[in-house]
């Protein structure tokens, strides 16, 4: 495919030549006035532009304008915010008195779909368009966070509050267990590989949120199936801002400063309280134990957190140079974490050029984005250490040797106990640098001899590299650096992805049969290559040199696809869509290499029927029916169907023939592995009333995944591991979504918009094994240290909690170690899987997003909230607490005060006591802004103040009820952030 890169250069050259062919001509003056069609009031600040040039002006306070235009100019465009723009042939006319009509909100909005776009009113699938007006406000560094709570059926959960950290996106629940559940993300026509380079914490970080114009979220299979094998979890199409033809240069500069703090700490025992516990429990801990406590009252959590001040600056220049619309932007973010020694600096740049050439026959769209990020990850393990570190000890202890002045337990204590959290955090040198450049060129060419036919070519390349290190000094406790003393650890990785898309689009208006045909057919080729290496070395002994462990990998996969779509519109009332995609994936072998993914949809614009046409209250009404099949091939292994042998790294050699040699292990493989297939059915209604002042949609859907890939325990002796990823199961998601947009106030000076969305999803596993064993316990999750506490079992939602049922005394306190003997077998009940039961699951039943935006003159206020109902969380921080763990052979540990509630002497990891309903209401952000709109001046400053993570209402006892995956184990806490922003538009 090197040939593609060469071609890219040729095309760029062509574009450059063609762009320079615009000429100059003689001028004439046109004048006029622009007014509001309904009120008759004049419209100051409306724009007038000569189509195909950079010429233009705006109206004065009285709505009047005057403009010199070339005598050969053909068309003038008149536009005003909130009005439908108008294009007028110039001819010999010199006076233009124009009335503009109010835009029916949203109806003419264009939604981007796979390989094309449609008017929202003509969309047949379940599609959400979210534009920059609706984005969340505040110090947002990751693109996903703009969308949190904004779309029905779209659930975004951030991994935590670490600087630059990413979020997971789930659209209509997960359709897989072992394969990826991430949606396919397409940015400016480039499908992005979700597999990120090492050292990066967010695969979307190369997109500056300020550059994003809109998100289009395709939810049902009739919309997504044209992306075939990568569309099972929905598709998010992101378009960035572009320059507009004919518009003058506009400069935008934003400076944001934010201050973030931790909202709360986990209540742990103070030094005094721990001393009291030691005195009260001498029987348990032994006589010497109390003497091992010192006299301090160190609040370790306070010592590792800080108030973090961050900066975010963005500059963009957009406009049209002659016939060349352009936009250039640069952004710099310096974000500090609320944990000390964690921060991120990011520089992003983007360039887009989108000229229209050859009398409008050739549309060119050139995009380039670049990013350099420096991450400092610190050591988030210090969070847990700060909870369990003995509070009677000081941070520093000069009397110790070999600990760099810090207090540390002797070798043994830090190994099995708690390292000093301050040392753990501050002495970590854990940094990475990530670079990425993504570029593409899209050509859309109208075939001269067949004007209904357009050819589209899209070539893209995406290169990213990450490198970093995670070092510790020799003075760190050895459990942080094992098996070495001190540690030097380097890693680097590189991803290279190339894309080549080509398709034809044919649109024909068949007036004689009152129909429109819109057909698309094309081909797509993508190549993904990932490689990387890492090494770790450290001192093993003063007399011995460094020892080193190394590893490296390189892997690739290809996707080759053919696709087609036919839209047929009859009488502008009945819309039919059919798509088909034939996908080939290099991950599979033989007959399984190719998969066929069809879809069909029908939409009925009921509003256009005669019985509704004249009902003014109803401004739009449409019924949608859709069906489609999508696939999943992102299964985490590029060669799962091939018999391969993998070599061992140094340290895992064995002597054969007197020499230590690497060993070669046959890898487990399934020669018949294939795609997962998800079939989606969707019924939806889009409605609008009162001139779209009330609008929304309602969808119900069912998604069934078959040939579900599951890592199952294979019969011993049948394969080269105890487990194998193979197509054995099925699962289904059923749900309903409702969204409503209200515009109670829409005046020139004042407006109020309210958006509400409601998501209900039910996940159920329907099959998990090759043989349907009704006694199959399911896939168990847990660790050797905590036992099993989650299960994926037939008939239940994935990742349900799987625990012993706690027995309580008369006062409602849990009785330690006493659980219901569910199996009735007697014997040990605690931890015995046959005595456990399924007790709720981490996913919310219902999610409600509610947001509002209010404008009054120059003020604007916006807020967004989320409500989550029925999400359960296992509080692992509480579950790890017990009195017997507090003191062991000379070292003490601290615990959260949950222990005072349970009074457990031994840890009870399998008690359902630790699972609680973590339903919550969150006011995610609140923003207030003032725009100094002096239209006479050139500079338009804007001031804003935003608070993020304002308020959380919940009964959950832990720090934050929003826990990705439902296991609360001390993740980096989400801060509360106050941001002041100042912006200038020139």
């Amino acid at each position: 495919m090197r040939i593609i890169r060469k071609k890219l250069k040729v095309f760029l050259f062509l574009v450059a030549i063609l762009a320079s062919t615009a000429g100059y001509a003689q001028l004439k003056t046109v004048t006029g006035k622009i007014t509001d069609a309904s009120s008759g009031e004049s419209l100051p600040g409306a724009t007038i532009a000569v189509m195909g040039t950079t010429l233009g002006t705006i109206t004065n306070l009285d709505g009047e304008f005057s403009l010199d235009i070339p005598t050969d100019a053909k068309t003038l465009q008149f536009a005003f915010v909130g009005m439908k723009s108008k294009e007028v042939e110039i001819g010999s006319q010199t006076t233009f008195n124009i009335t503009l009509e109010e835009d029916l909100i949203g109806l003419d909005e264009v939604v981007v779909i796979g390989y094309g776009s449609v008017k929202k009113s003509d969309a047949t699938g379940a599609v959400i368009a979210i534009s920059s007006d609706d984005f969340n406000k505040g110090a947002i560094t990751s693109a996903q966070d703009l969308l949190v709570g904004k779309g029905a059926g779209v659930v975004i959960t951030s991994a935590g509050g670490a600087p630059g950290s990413g979020s997971t996106i789930r659209i209509r629940g997960g359709s897989s267990l072992n394969a990826s559940n991430d949606p396919l993300i397409i940015i400016d026509g480039i499908p992005i590989d979700n597999n990120d380079v090492s050292g990066s914490s967010n695969f979307l970080s190369f997109v500056n949120p300020n550059d994003i114009e809109s998100f289009n979220i395709l939810k049902d299979a009739s919309a997504t199936a044209i992306y075939g094998s990568r569309a099972s979890n929905g598709v998010i199409i992101i378009n960035t801002k572009k320059g507009k033809a004919g518009s003058p240069m506009k400069i935008n500069f934003d400076m944001n400063t934010s201050v973030a703090t931790a909202i709360e700490f986990i209540d742990v025992y103070s030094g005094d309280e721990l001393r009291k516990i030691a005195l009260d429990n001498k029987d348990l801990y032994g006589a010497d134990s109390y003497n091992m406590l010192w006299g301090e009252n160190t609040n370790w959590q306070e010592e590792i957190f800080q108030t973090a001040i961050s900066q975010d600056n963005n500059l963009s220049v957009a406009g049209s140079y002659k016939a060349l619309p352009y936009r250039v932007s640069i952004g710099y973010t310096d974000q500090a974490g609320i944990m000390k020694n964690t921060d991120m600096q990011r520089l992003t740049g983007s360039l887009s050029l989108n000229p229209t050439l050859l009398d409008g026959d050739l549309k060119v769209n050139l995009n380039a984005k670049g990013m350099i990020t420096d991450n400092n990850f610190g050591d988030t393990g210090a969070l847990g250490s700060a909870i369990t570190m003995d509070p009677t000890k000081p941070i520093y202890d000069d009397s110790q040797t070999g600990s760099a002045g810090y207090f540390q337990w002797n070798n043994y204590g830090a190994n099995l106990g708690t390292p000093n959290p301050v040392e753990q955090l501050m002495d970590a040198d854990n940094k990475s640098k990530v670079k990425r450049i993504v570029g593409n060129i899209q050509l859309n060419y109208r075939i001269p001899f067949l004007p209904e036919l357009r050819a589209n070519l899209n070539m893209a390349t995406d290169f990213s590299s990450g490198e970093g290190h995670n070092n510790r000094p020799v003075t760190s406790p050895s459990n942080l650096t094992a098996p070495y003393w001190g540690r030097l650890s380097n890693y680097s990785s590189e991803n290279k992805n190339d894309l080549f898309d080509f398709y034809f689009n044919y649109v024909k208006d068949l007036e004689q049969i009152n129909s429109v045909i819109d057909a698309t057919a094309g081909y797509s080729w993508q190549h993904f290559q990932r490689e990387g290496d890492s090494w770790t070395r450290g001192y093993t002994d003063e007399d011995h040199p460094y020892q080193e462990t190394k590893s490296s990998y390189i892997t690739e996969n290809y996707l080759v696809s053919f696709f087609g779509r036919l839209n047929y519109t009859l009488a502008d009332k009945y819309l039919f869509t059919a798509t088909v995609r034939q996908d080939g994936s290099s991950r599979f072998a033989g007959d399984n290499q190719w998969g066929l993914f069809p879809s069909a949809a029908f939409a009925w614009k009921i509003k256009e029927e005669s019985f509704l046409k004249d009902v003014d209250a109803v401004s739009s009404l449409k019924l949608r029916l859709g069906w489609g099949v999508t696939g999943q091939q992102d299964i985490g292994n590029d060669y799962p169907a091939q018999a391969t042998y993998i070599s061992s790294s140094e340290g895992s050699y064995y002597p054969i023939g007197g020499q230590y040699i690497p060993t070669l292990r046959p890898s487990a493989y399934d020669p018949n592995i294939k795609w997962e297939e998800t079939t989606t059915e969707n019924i939806g209604i889009d409605f609008g009333f009162f001139n779209e002042r009330v609008s929304g949609s309602f969808d119900v859907y069912k998604r069934v995944t078959d040939d579900l890939l599951n890592t199952v325990t294979v019969p011993t002796g049948s394969n080269f591991s105890n487990t194998l990823l193979t197509n054995v199961g099925s699962l289904e998601n059923k749900g309903a979504e409702f969204s409503l947009n209200l515009i109670p106030i829409s005046k020139k000076d004042m407006s109020l918009e309210i958006g509400l969305n409601l998501t209900y999803n039910e996940n159920k596993i329907t099959k998990l094994l090759l043989n349907d064993d009704p006694d199959y316990i399911g896939i168990l999750y847990g660790s050797a240290f905590t036992g099993t506490n989650q299960v994926t079992r037939v008939g239940y939602p994935a990742y349900s909690f799987f625990l012993n049922q706690q027995v309580y005394d008369n006062n409602g306190n849990p009785i330690e170690g006493l659980y219901t003997d569910i199996s009735g077998d007697g014997g040990v009940v605690a931890g015995d899987n046959s005595d456990k039961y399924i007790y709720h699951n981490p996913v919310a039943d219902v999610l409600i997003g509610l947001s509002a935006r209010f404008n009054y003159k120059n003020f604007d206020v916006s807020a967004s909230t989320r409500t989550s109902i029925g999400n359960y969380v296992y509080n692992q921080v509480a579950a790890g607490t017990s009195y017997d763990q507090m003191y062991q052979i000379g070292y003490w540990k601290n615990f959260p005060q949950y222990l005072s509630d349970t009074q457990f002497v031994k840890r009870q990891f399998t008690s359902d006591y630790f699972v609680s309903n973590a339903s919550f209401f969150k006011l995610d952000n609140f923003s207030i802004g003032y725009t100094y709109a002096d239209i006479k001046g050139k500079m338009i400053p804007r001031l804003s103040f935003t608070v993020q993570n304002v308020l959380t209402i919940t009964n959950y006892e832990g720090i934050d009820p929003e826990v990705q995956g439902g296991m609360d184990n001390n993740f980096y806490p989400r801060p509360r952030t106050f941001m002041v922003g100042i912006g200038f538009t020139y």
């Binding site: 040939i3 098996p483 590893s551 080759v560 091939q642 042998y645 002597p655 070669l664 046959p666 052979i889």
Partner: protein, 536 residues
């Protein structure tokens, strides 16, 4: 002009489609990944595949390249030798572990269930070693240059099946005739498996290398020792004792002249315990601080038996990194057996300052009293009980190991050493009615232990119990105890009790079905052909 150029470019692009479809047939790019079809490209590849079968018993996997061999919650924790050690020792009087990890307490107190992670991992890993061996045997069976390697793979398969027959009785049975994929192996019955192992070992005996041809690869003596061990336990496995056969094969090893007892008992458990320095070692699992490392095997035994207060790994074993896991120690009952406290201290309390039992004349005593000899609860800290430091990462003379690593021992894990041949033969002779012959073999072992004849016994003193006890004294912490106790009927019975057997302070009788471990629950659900062992 431009229009035509663009049109040409577009159609040229369209023509590329055909060539790109071929891209779907990919080959791994990673030089560490070798396709099955390319194993013939370099002769070292087959050595490396053979090396994997050996390594699968002792280290967790491919290291940074490919991770552990099985998916389990912790790779090192659930490596074959470590899981085997736990099943063979924690269930007996020789060891009790203080850790709170799921499944440990169940082994300490003989209350395990089919979901116990250690028995699950051991079952799966033994099966995996067999599957690796089957693959290698299949690849090499028609290659005349691979006869000896092929026989080694068959030995390793027979060894894995021997642990299967001992621990689980009726495992799934596969050979090189079975392929790889998604199928349900048949279960084999214990007696049938006995016959299979016996015939395999007999047929490879002549194909294996000469003794010590390339330590630590399996040679003819290793196969003879495995046959002897199989015959030693024949009555347990088949109901029919085969003492004569046991004697035949131990004779072959002892009389071959290839091995002799190390003058220093500790040599067998030191970093220089390999065959090059140690005349006693017949077959062992390699451990090396640089090349064959992991928190497994002897590193695990040493560190889990060390603690910060009483037996510091820094002081006792020269290990300084990630040390003193403070888990395993022995019970008072085992101390009494090894130290022979009654004769050593004459019924008086052991002096508080003699924590290392220095008055004992038996040089095999590597025990140390901790906070107290008694262990106050089944999950009490490792500071209670009788510490064991028999295995060490130092050389036998106390010097530092050749490939020293502060975290990993270089001490090989002994599977067969000559002392075992003597004691197996002694037991066979005793059961064949030749008490004098038996006493001669036992005294050979005891003379090495005592450094003189002070510890020798007479045939009048020889009892069945003495043989069991002598095996305990000689082989403690070598993962043999459970097998021995089962063979002598003392694993679950009410006569031989030790602290926390059955979950009680002084120990109590347990059910005899525990003499065999259950088939893991995971296996019973995964393979419809596998029936659970009775009693579970």
């Amino acid at each position: 002009m431009y229009k035509n150029k663009i049109l040409i470019a577009i159609f040229l692009s369209a023509l590329m489609i055909a060539s790109c479809v071929k891209d779907l047939d990919v080959k791994p790019m990673d030089p560490d990944v070798i396709l099955a079809g390319n194993l013939g490209d370099d002769p070292v590849y087959m050595q490396q595949v053979l090396g994997k079968i050996y390594a699968s018993f002792i280290i967790e996997g491919q290291g940074a390249n490919g991770g552990a061999d099985i998916s389990a919650s912790d790779g090192a924790f659930f490596t074959t030798m470590r899981a085997l050690w736990n099943l063979q020792e924690l269930t007996t009087d020789e060891a009790i572990c203080a850790w709170g990890d799921v499944g440990i307490a169940d082994l300490n107190t003989q209350t395990w269930s089919p979901s116990n992670p250690f028995l699950t991992a051991l079952y799966q890993r033994l099966g995996l070693s067999i599957t690796y061996a089957n693959d290698f045997i299949r690849l090499t069976k028609d290659d005349p240059s691979m006869v000896q390697y092929n026989a080694e793979a068959r030995f390793l398969r027979a060894l894995a099946y021997t642990w299967f027959i001992d621990l689980f009785a009726n495992p799934p049975f596969t050979t090189e005739e079975d392929g790889v994929g998604n199928f349900y192996p048949e279960q084999i019955q214990r007696a049938d498996l006995f016959n299979y192992i016996e015939s395999e070992l007999k047929s490879i005996e002549g194909l294996l290398g000469e003794p010590k041809f390339s330590y630590p690869q399996a040679d003819r003596a290793a196969a003879q020792m495995l046959l002897a061990r199989l015959y030693l336990n024949a009555e347990v496995y088949t109901g029919i004792p085969q003492w004569e056969n046991c004697k035949t094969y131990t004779d072959l090893v002892i009389n071959s002249g290839n091995y002799s007892l190390a003058s220093n008992y500790r040599q067998n458990f030191s970093a220089d315990n390999g065959a090059a320095q140690n005349p006693e070692m017949i077959f062992a699992w390699e451990q090396d601080g640089v090349n064959t490392q992991g928190y497994v095997g002897t590193t695990f035994i040493i560190e889990s038996s060390s603690d910060a207060t009483y037996i510091r790994a820094e002081d006792y074993h020269g290990l300084t990194s990630n040390t003193n896991w403070n888990g395993n120690r022995a019970t008072r009952e085992f101390m009494n057996l090894l130290v022979d406290t009654l004769s050593t201290y004459g019924g008086a309390p052991i002096p508080a300052d003699d924590v290392e039992f220095s008055q004992s004349k038996d040089s095999r005593v590597y025990l140390k009293m901790k906070k107290s000899i008694d262990i106050p609860s089944a999950s009490a800290s490792g500071d209670y009980g009788v510490g064991v430091y028999k295995f060490t990462a130092n050389n036998a003379d106390g010097s530092q190991a050749a490939n020293y690593n502060p975290a990993f021992a270089s001490t090989d894990f002994p599977v067969f050493r000559l002392a075992d041949a003597y004691l197996m033969r002694a037991e066979a002779l005793f059961n064949m009615g030749d008490a004098n012959g038996a006493v001669a073999d036992i005294n050979t072992i005891r003379e090495r232990a005592f450094g003189n004849t002070d510890g020798n016994i007479t045939s009048a003193e020889l009892t069945s119990q003495f043989i069991l006890d002598e095996r305990g004294r000689e082989f403690y912490y070598e993962a043999q105890r459970r097998t021995d106790l089962v063979r002598f009927g003392q694993f679950t019975d009410g006569n031989h009790k030790w602290q926390w057997k059955g979950g009680t302070y002084d120990g109590s009788q347990t059910s005899s079905h525990l003499n065999i471990f259950p088939i893991p629950g995971d296996e019973v659900s995964a393979n419809q052909n596998i029936l659970q062992n009775s009693g579970y």
